[in-house]
Subunit: 268 residues, 2 copies
Amino acid sequence: MDRRPIGVFDSGIGGLTVVKEIMKILPEEDIVYFGDTARVPYGSKSRDTIIKFAFQDSRFLLSKNVKAIVVACNTASAMSLGELQESIEVPVIGVIKPGAHAAVRASKTGRIGIIGTEGTIGSRAYENAIKKLYPEAEIIGHPCPLFVPLVEEGWAGTKVSYLVAEEYLKPLKDVDIDTLVMGCTHYPLLTRVVGDVMGQDVTLINPAEETALELKEILMEKGLQNDPENNPSYRYYVSDNPDKFSRVGSNFLNRDISNIQKVDIEKY
Amino acid sequence: MDRRPIGVFDSGIGGLTVVKEIMKILPEEDIVYFGDTARVPYGSKSRDTIIKFAFQDSRFLLSKNVKAIVVACNTASAMSLGELQESIEVPVIGVIKPGAHAAVRASKTGRIGIIGTEGTIGSRAYENAIKKLYPEAEIIGHPCPLFVPLVEEGWAGTKVSYLVAEEYLKPLKDVDIDTLVMGCTHYPLLTRVVGDVMGQDVTLINPAEETALELKEILMEKGLQNDPENNPSYRYYVSDNPDKFSRVGSNFLNRDISNIQKVDIEKY
């Protein structure tokens, strides 16, 4: 048994879709969340910069005595997970491998689509992870840079979001995929739009749920679970705009968020 | 005469629309540009964070021995100009006051619209600057957060950009403005779309040109102009992704960009 909290970081607010799954699957665990709202987004930035940011984010979480770190951000998982795992003592879990597992289990034809930020798609991280499990799989990735600002503007479900989705998803429809990985933490809020455009024969994968399941396995394996009777506490830290985080974050989490503090992340 | 360069900073690449005007109006001046591409965008972030970033950006430019600083970013101009001017020895010029002057000169009815980031519109900086010159003016501001990602995606002029513009500009059309300030450095690339949606009776104002004219006046007033025979040099610094800056920046500047270096801005 280990009473230390789980640490979760993301480029901003989207990682709360992962926190939501952890709360469901590991209801006895305390969580410390860090959202890098001063430097968001990560998706359009270079690998060197993402690695630097991911280490600062992780050092901050370690300063809160976490027993494991979940990299909720797909871009940071794609670009920095190996580096983090090599030099950090506690287990570090990303969202790519769990997402790849879920996609391989769901796909019948082996034609799997991936959508995400420029950084995630450019890294080919999902492609490599899926090919390890299923070498014959045909993977087609497509970046969707406007999806995040659409969700943050509250325009998911509008005519504009359908038009943008049709434009981005066309190359994926053309090759007749049967499974689509929603490879960015904001995309679960566009599930309906993406589902409508892709049609009901395509299974949409949200890596967040699978990530929470992998976290559970690792905690069990290493004897790191909390007391099952623990009444969990959730603390949130951001590098900018705690008020906006509280307001918009409630949408992602479907519950009120309090207990938010601002952090100068560049010091870590 | 003063042979030192002009310093220009922006949250990223958009400030090149201001550089373009400075090159035209002050062709003998050397320019050092800094684009904060590691922390872009500024428009959705808080005043405290923008002030901190603007001071780091300015300290970097001062380390390059600039004789004046142009804050090309509307959000940074709106939120940090006063603070910068108070503590920096060289002249610091923003884009808000020049934009306000141009709007007041252009407007016949006094009904003036402003579009920009959440930060710029929320600050009411344009409104205050216009009211000082023209107290009876009626100002209506509207944030357009999706315009920047649309331009960066290269989607200016597409059906999506028209649909988004119609949505954002509706409240401005409803009140029958005759002048519209394009209060974000990316927006000049949407001039055609915004012009089509607003109609030809509305004059669009790009503060960049007026800012370059104000810079020229200040240099003359203080005897800081360069030798008219000087063959100008242009140097570019970014906090991330010099390659992308070079590629996308050429679009903004209509000329090839070389001489780009990466800077660790958090050290300044």
